[in-house]
Structures are given as structure tokens and as C-alpha cells.
């Protein structure tokens, strides 16, 4: 026993020394350190949470990534898929029960919340070195809190309008260049395809602010601005109001049915796959799901994207969405988890994650290459000037739990309040939520 222990210690020390020597000596640290850590993790198992539906493309990427990690380090990786609408509940349960994963994918706007709940481990050293050092610092805004970074950007997502290209062709509709054209196109679709079809689907669910935000930001509005150490709500500014009116008009003008005021993107996607939606705001990660839900009928040239048009033409502002990868705060295999994140978010697997999953790569050269692709150009263009929600841990409460703006929209749509009343109340509530400690 004793001897075995001593041997083990010696071997480990030697391995560490070798690793250090390699780091100091060579200019390419990724390869040798991965090799050196190889035998260290054999027999260990990591749990990795991936978010969304396990569509074939995402499944294939994950399998390959996991295989590569297993081959390099000998550690097994168990993958679990969590649908987006359940992410916060699942994280809550994991943080409360202490049974979280080792590594998880996470929405970039969720990072401040889960950092504040101490559910994520700081991984500043990962983004400071290697491939990850090339990720532009402006993409780390939501991930960096008090000087520590808690997640690595994995893929960026801006949204555009997904539409039924086959219907547009049948009905001889041109791709809308202004908001009014979009409204006219939606009405024409409803006229020809049935009253129960949403011309342009209203999103009032958990991710409603992706649609409302795009409209409001384009109008020149903001949700809230930090002045000193306090958030000041800006919902009553004329810019925001313009976007908000556009948003509620989707229902009051009848482009989207009043019976689905709380549907989120996932529910809209299902209806889209069942020929009940003409257009909605989303990103290409919805395509595999639509293919599956429609039993292979909706794919290829039957659907396409165009950038959400601004009121007077031009492109609307998009939400700076994106998925990150992070190490769970109570990871059992902390070192292995960090190495996994390092590998997954590195240039090879990071860019592959984005391109395979219909997202935008966070590495500048790969992004530049993507802008040349006509199919991806709308997203790349939108990504360049995308905006984010208030970077505050309490944003999720306003965004999803209290659904402040969804509720304001409901009040207006149901005629219980004027736009000014609803936004005035929402503004106070938003300030209260963001400023609570």
C-alpha cells in the first residue's frame, strides 16, 4: 500500500513537471498538456448538460466532441439534453439539490443569474490563454462579473425572420423590406391559408423579449440603463413605446391569434411545422426541429430567412444571443470539467459547434468567413450590431418569472390599459426588480 502510494505520488509529480516543462518550452501548449492529462482522468465520468432538443445535427456534434475528449483524456462523458423552456427549473433543482452536472451549456443572458446563485465556477484562466484568448472581449460582457469570467462564449445567435418560402412563392409575395410590407405579407398569408394561421407569430412566452427587444431597440429604445449603481427604467421613452406598439399590434391587428398570448418560440416552432405559421422571429437552430416535427416535409427551399425589417426600411436591431459553456460550481470532477470546457470552446470544436448548430462562431476569422455565405449573411450582419438585455442577475426575474413586459402587452391587447399606463407600471416594476439586492 505504502509503496503504491509513493509510486503514485512520484508519477504524478513527474507528470506535472513534464507538463510544466512542455508549457514553458514549446509555443503550442494545447497539444502536450492535453496529452499529459490523458491518463489522469481514466475511469472518471463527467456529466454534461446540453440545452435544446437533441436533433440529429446537434447529437452528432456532441457525440464527436465527447469521443474526442474520451480519446484524449480517458474520461467518460455522460450527455443529458434539457429543452430550453425547462432550463431555469432544471438549474434551480440542480443547484438546490447539489446534483448538478460537471459541465453545462448555458444561455449567455442566464450567466449573471446563475453566477449570483453561485452555481458556476470561475474559469478566468481558460479565457486568458490559448485559443480562447482570441475571443473578442466585447463578447464576454455578460460572462465577466467582478473581474472573473464564469462561462466561455460557444456560439453566437442573432435572430431573423423564418418564413415559408413556398407560400411566398405561391402567393407571389416579395420579401418584405419594411415593417408595413411585412404586415401586408402576413395579412395576405392569413387570407389565403386560413384564419387560424398566424401571419407573423406573436411571442409572449418566456423568450418574448427577443422579439419585443428587437422592435424596441430598432425604434431607438432601451429597457434600462445603469446610472451610477442603480438601474433606471427606460420603458416609457418614445423609442421603446414605438417598438412596444408594433409588438402588441401583431395581435390587435390580427396577425397572430389572441388565444396564444403566452406562446414561446418552441411552441411557435411546433405550429410552424404544422403549417399554422407564416413567419416568426427565430434562428437557424429551429430548422432541425421543424424538419422532425413536420416528418421531413418542411425543409430545404420551402423555408428561408430574411432580416427583420425596421419600420422605415433597413434592418432591425437584433438580440445578442448566444450559448456559452460553463463549469458547474459543484462539479465533482473540477479539473476534468475545466479541460472539457477548454477543448469544447477551443477553435476547432468551438467553430464546429457554431457552424453545425446554426449559430455564429465567436472567433473573428471564422465569423468573417461566414459573412460571405449568402444564407448566413443576414445573421452575421445582425450579429455585428446586436444588443443585449440589462446585464443583471435579476433580469431573469423580470424577463421570465414576473414576465413584466409580457404582462404589460397582455394588458394593452386585452384593452385593460393604454400603452402609456401599461409601460409606466412596467417601468416601475422593472426598476424595482433590477434594483433589488
Amino acid at each position: 500500500m505504502r509503496i503504491a502510494k509513493i509510486t503514485a505520488t512520484t508519477v504524478t509529480t513527474a507528470a506535472l513537471a513534464l507538463g510544466l516543462a512542455a508549457c514553458g518550452g514549446a509555443e503550442a501548449p494545447a497539444e502536450p498538456s492535453a496529452a499529459a492529462s490523458g491518463p489522469k482522468y481514466s475511469g472518471k465520468e463527467l456529466t454534461f448538460w446540453r440545452l435544446g432538443d437533441s436533433n440529429p445535427a446537434a447529437q452528432k456534434y456532441t457525440d464527436e466532441l465527447v469521443a474526442a475528449f474520451e480519446q484524449q483524456t480517458g474520461a467518460k462523458v455522460k450527455v443529458e439534453w434539457i429543452p430550453w423552456p425547462q432550463v431555469n427549473d432544471k438549474f434551480t433543482a440542480a443547484a438546490a439539490g447539489g446534483t448538478g452536472p460537471d459541465v453545462t451549456e448555458i444561455g449567455n443572458d442566464q450567466v449573471p443569474l446563475w453566477q449570483s446563485q453561485e452555481a458556476l465556477a470561475p474559469i478566468t484562466d481558460i479565457v486568458a490563454a490559448g485559443d480562447q484568448a482570441e475571443i473578442p472581449k466585447n463578447l464576454l460582457g455578460l460572462e465577466t462579473i467582478d473581474g472573473e469570467t464564469y462561462a466561455v462564449p460557444w456560439g453566437g445567435g442573432s435572430r431573423a425572420v423564418l418564413y415559408r418560402a413556398d407560400w411566398f412563392k405561391d402567393l407571389k409575395i416579395e420579401i418584405p423590406k419594411t415593417w408595413d410590407e411585412l404586415v401586408a405579407a402576413a395579412k395576405k398569408i392569413q387570407e389565403k391559408k386560413g384564419k387560424d394561421v398566424d401571419g407573423f407569430a406573436f411571442n409572449g412566452g418566456s423568450d418574448a423579449n427577443h422579439l419585443l427587444g428587437s422592435l424596441a431597440w430598432t425604434g431607438g429604445g432601451e429597457y434600462a440603463v445603469k446610472e451610477g449603481d442603480k438601474w433606471v427604467g427606460k420603458l416609457t421613452d418614445p423609442g421603446f413605446k414605438t417598438g412596444f406598439e408594433q409588438y402588441t399590434a401583431l395581435v390587435t391587428d390580427g396577425l397572430s391569434s389572441k388565444s396564444r398570448l403566452s406562446q414561446n418560440t418552441t411552441e411557435i416552432r411546433t405550429r410552424f411545422a404544422n403549417n399554422k405559421v407564416g413567419m416568426y422571429l427565430t434562428a437557424s437552430w429551429d430548422l432541425p426541429g421543424i424538419d422532425e416535427d413536420s416528418k421531413g416535409k418542411l425543409k430545404g427551399d420551402k423555408l428561408a430567412f430574411f432580416p427583420l425589417p425596421a419600420k422605415d426600411g433597413g434592418e432591425a436591431q437584433s438580440f445578442l444571443g448566444g450559448n456559452d459553456i460553463a463549469v458547474w460550481g459543484t462539479a465533482k470532477e473540477m479539473d476534468a470539467a475545466k479541460d472539457f470546457v477548454k477543448l469544447a470552446s477551443g477553435k476547432e470544436w468551438g467553430v464546429k459547434y457554431a457552424t453545425d448548430g446554426g449559430l455564429l462562431p465567436v472567433y473573428p476569422e471564422a465569423l468573417a468567413k461566414l459573412s460571405e455565405d449568402p444564407a448566413q449573411a443576414p445573421f452575421a450582419a445582425a450579429f455585428a450590431k446586436a444588443k443585449a438585455f440589462p446585464a443583471d442577475p435579476n433580469w431573469t426575474e423580470a424577463n421570465e418569472t414576473k414576465a413584466v413586459l409580457q404582462n404589460a402587452a397582455r394588458q394593452v391587447i386585452e384593452g385593460k390599459a393604454t400603452v402609456d399606463e401599461a409601460l409606466g407600471k412596467a417601468n416601475t416594476e422593472l426598476e424595482n426588480i433590477l434594483n433589488q439586492s
Partner: protein, 338 residues
């Protein structure tokens, strides 16, 4: 639920058995006779204490603390911070709370009255029916009672669905003049029943009454079987109407049964959760929250604020206790007078 029958029937049981005991000698175990009932109560008290009292005390404590994930996770737990009545001032200052309170109370009043009225009516009907028919109806309505709450929600959610629901389809089948006369409109296509707070609660009342009247009906039937037939014969001889017979004979004699049924219904209907959760698809429309839903949303949706969730639960519990206490007092007074 099964408690009720033992409660109503068990009222007279302890005293006869108690009367027999004092004459007997001490048991072989050597324990004094007086201690045996207490000893037998211990296991039950332990279970209740562990599963009911302890959590209740915890909820009361948490209601005065700030408790989030860092305070409850098993590894590197942080101590909870005492915040006094802050949780309460916060929820009382929030419009959602007052909405939820209104919804809870109005719903409970309507659902309890409807359940009792429909249940009693069906119970009286069952008593009038012949043996075979009555068994058939009992078995039929018991199916509704046996449906689990989530399934109840799903059944009625489908029936009231805006596009594929059978209710809108049936309303559209009505002749236009009739529909316009009764509802003021002829076209029901895509009517979103599960959208506005008032219509969600209408559907919820239907759901809850549908599932809970069978229990009332069967309990009332059991009570009716115990009323001597002579009383009704006498009433018939005197030429009393059916309504008068019910008011003067049936209702007074069944008062204890109604008392228990009312208290139980109040308790059940005040804390309806699963059906509402299914009907509105989770805590989405905050105007349609009831107190349970609001408590759940505060305590378990992110970021979890278990303190304010517990505070709401405490308020709900206090309201329930007060309502039940006042009602039971009222009953006892009436008993004394008569």
C-alpha cells in the same frame, strides 16, 4: 378524503369502549392502564410530527428569512439571513398578491357553493332512484371523482381549446339566432377560453365542481339512508311539498354531514393548484394566479425566493384556519341553540 366517513361515524365510538375498560385489571405488560391510549397514539403523533408539523414550522421560519439557492444547497451552505417582516411587506405591496387573493377567495366561494348544491341535488336524486339505477349513477359519477387532478386539467383544457376544442365546435352548432339571443354572438371560432383570468376561472370552476360533486353526492346519500322513513311518511301525510320536506327534515338532520363537507370543500378549493397549473400552462398569466400558484412562482421559479414563497403559504394557511374556525364556531353555536 376517507377520513370523513370515520369522522362522522366515529363520533360515538370511543365512549362505549372506554366505559368497559376501568373494571379490568392491569395488562400483563405491567403498564398502567391510563398510559395505554397515549402509548398507542405515539406512532401516529411521530409520523404527523415528522411529516406535517416539522415542515410547517420550517415554512413559518423561512417566511421571516431570505432563503435562496445558496442557503439550501447541500454543499457549502450559507446561513439564512433574518429579514423580519420584509417578505410580508414585499408581497403585500405587490399587486399580484391582491389579485391572487381575490381570485382565491372568489373561486373558493363559487366552487364550494356550486359543489355543495350540485352534490346535494344528485345525492337526493340517488336516494329516489331504484337500486340498480342508483348503483349505475354512483359508479358513473365516481369515475369523475377518481380522475387525478392533472388529468382533470388536461381533459377540460382540451374541451375548451380555442381551435380544436369541442366546446367551441358545439357552440358553433347552435342556431345563430339562439346563440345571439343567449350570448350576444354567433361565431365562436377560435374563442380563447384559457386566456383571460375570468374565463380561466370559469373553466377551473367547472373542472373542480365536476370532479368533487360525486363525493358530496355519495356522502349525502349515506346520510339520507340514516333518516328514518317515518319522518317522510308523516310529512307526506301532512301534505308537505318536496322543498318543504327537504328544508324541514332532510337539511336539519343532515346538518352534521353538511358541516364536515363544507369545511372539507373549503379546504380543498382554497388550495387548488394542479388543475389551474395545467389549464393555464404553468404560471404564465399572472392576473390569473391564485395564492398557491403565486407562492409556487415566487418560491421555485428562478431566481427562487423561498422566503416570500413561504410567506404567501403562511398567509394562505392563516386565512384557511380563520375561515374554518369561524365556520365551525358558527355551527357549534347553532347546535347549542337548537
Amino acid at each position: 378524503m376517507t377520513d370523513t366517513s370515520t369522522l362522522t361515524r366515529g363520533g360515538g365510538n370511543p365512549s362505549p369502549s372506554g366505559r368497559r375498560r376501568p373494571g379490568r385489571p392491569a395488562k400483563a405488560s405491567g403498564l398502567p392502564v391510563w398510559s395505554i391510549p397515549y402509548l398507542l397514539l405515539v406512532p401516529g403523533l411521530l409520523v404527523i410530527g415528522a411529516l406535517l408539523l416539522y415542515p410547517m414550522v420550517q415554512v413559518a421560519i423561512i417566511a421571516f428569512q431570505k432563503v435562496g439557492l445558496p442557503q439550501i444547497r447541500p454543499v457549502n451552505t450559507k446561513p439564512a439571513e433574518w429579514v423580519g417582516v420584509e417578505n410580508f411587506t414585499q408581497i403585500f405591496g405587490n399587486e399580484i398578491f391582491w389579485n391572487a387573493l381575490r381570485n382565491t377567495v372568489v373561486f373558493a366561494v363559487l366552487a364550494v357553493s356550486l359543489t355543495l348544491v350540485v352534490g346535494t341535488a344528485v345525492g337526493v336524486l340517488l336516494n329516489k332512484l331504484g337500486k340498480k339505477m342508483s348503483t349505475l349513477v354512483i359508479v358513473g359519477i365516481m369515475f369523475a371523482w377518481a380522475v387525478p387532478p392533472v388529468a382533470q386539467g388536461i381533459i377540460w383544457k382540451w374541451l375548451f381549446d380555442a381551435e380544436a376544442g369541442i366546446i367551441n365546435w358545439a357552440l358553433n352548432l347552435l342556431p345563430d339566432w339562439l346563440s345571439t339571443l343567449v350570448f350576444g354572438r354567433a361565431d365562436w371560432t377560435g374563442e380563447p377560453w384559457l386566456n383571460d383570468a375570468w374565463s380561466i376561472y370559469m373553466v377551473l370552476i367547472i373542472t373542480v365542481v365536476w370532479a368533487s360533486f360525486p363525493f358530496i353526492a355519495v356522502s349525502v346519500l349515506a346520510g339520507l339512508k340514516g333518516i328514518p322513513a317515518e319522518l317522510y311518511e308523516a310529512a307526506r301525510v301532512d301534505g308537505a311539498s318536496a322543498w318543504l320536506t327537504f328544508r324541514k327534515i332532510t337539511f336539519p338532520l343532515l346538518r352534521p354531514v353538511f358541516a364536515v363537507l363544507t369545511v372539507l370543500s373549503i379546504i380543498w378549493d382554497f388550495k387548488v393548484f394542479s388543475q389551474l397549473y395545467v389549464l393555464m400552462g404553468g404560471p404564465s398569466n399572472r392576473e390569473a394566479y391564485n395564492l398557491s400558484m403565486y407562492s409556487y412562482a415566487e418560491a421555485f421559479r428562478s431566481p427562487p425566493k423561498m422566503g416570500s414563497g413561504a410567506a404567501i403559504a403562511l398567509v394562505l394557511t392563516v386565512i384557511l384556519l380563520v375561515v374554518t374556525a369561524v365556520y365551525v364556531r358558527q355551527l357549534v353555536k347553532q347546535e347549542d341553540m337548537s
